[in-house]
Amino acid sequence: MATATTAPAQPATGSAADKDRSAFETAIWLIKVEMGNAGTYMTIDANARIAYTRQIDAMANELRTQALSGRITWAQAAQQAQDTRNVIMEVIRGRSTPFGRAMAQQIKAEGKTLNELIARKVQQLHGPGAQFDRLTGTQQNAVYAEIVKSAGKSNPRVTQTMRGLSRAGRGLIVLSLAMSVYNVANAQDKVAATGREVAVTGAGIGGGMAGGALAGLACGPGAPVCVAVGAFVGGALAAFGMDMLW
């Protein structure tokens, strides 16, 4: 079992038992590499989500503070909230993995304009038939304030899913590390085994990112299945390559 998580050499003899053992060891090795790969993907995307949730909340709070202190008008705060939120979303997409970006791009957005949001908030706050132009200045500011508040919200449906993925991703990374530790502990040359585990696992993760990105380029935006396949193949190839080099 000492070599269970390193790419197995071809058996010296051609017996069925040796072939079975080799196939089993290869499968375990591949599972370890891909667990590290998938766990990293999940953790990066979950962390990007946490950053998004915090940044838009902070942005809305900052604009609210500025409007309350009179440094900007509530109308300016509402406009800036819309614009800044879109910028933050783009930045976070850039920080996501190729898979996360593909998920975000898989369906074209159809958002509301600021004027449509204003009309909707007026209906919600003052009932059907109410018109923004007929509201008092204070009432208009309250409508703008609601828009700023809404811009600071991230959808809990996504955030909850990402929270679960974060836990699952960390679990996969821990499992992958545990298999590496087991492998090192059972190796005769522990220093060499440690170097090999670090190099192969790192190559698997790096190859997964590169494979996902290349697949994203080949398949076009919004193709998460293609990116997932690319990440899996890229991770496996890079890990195999590093193992052979080592």
């Binding site: 898989q106 369906i107 957005a109 159809e110 958002g111 811009a151 919200k153 449906r157």
Partner: protein, 157 residues
Amino acid sequence: MDVLAPEELSLHLLREADARHKPLSDIVLAGQRIGRTVEAAVLEAAFRCDSGYLLFTTDDVPGEEFLGIHLFSPEFERLDTATLGGMYSTGSFLLLGVEGTDTVRFRFIGGTDWRLKVLPRSRLRMPLMPEARGVSRPLGFSRRFEITGRPQRELSD
């Protein structure tokens, strides 16, 4: 299928959406709360159909809106539910029309006309296999309505 006016069916918001909780609202039928809740903040449209009531709802998160679709029996037992949307994307509901006694056409996301057909009885479905991109449902093997559409992807970053 009849479109219901706000006086006939509406939502009373109990809890707004935040980072940890989905929004929650009481269902109000003819001005009376009926003791049933739905995870939504805004009622976009409501219909009475042969199977009961069909509700289209959103979460009041304009930057990342999801459409909730809920089918209830005449006694307001939940028959089926689905959501339409995607992370870091958003939608805006527009009712296009009603066809016959069982079909609603609408727009929301993906630059496509969506069509929802209420089924006369439960039909088998494969869990984790959405009927269209952007549609998701709780884990299960049956459905009482089907959603069709051809959503477009974003062209580029």
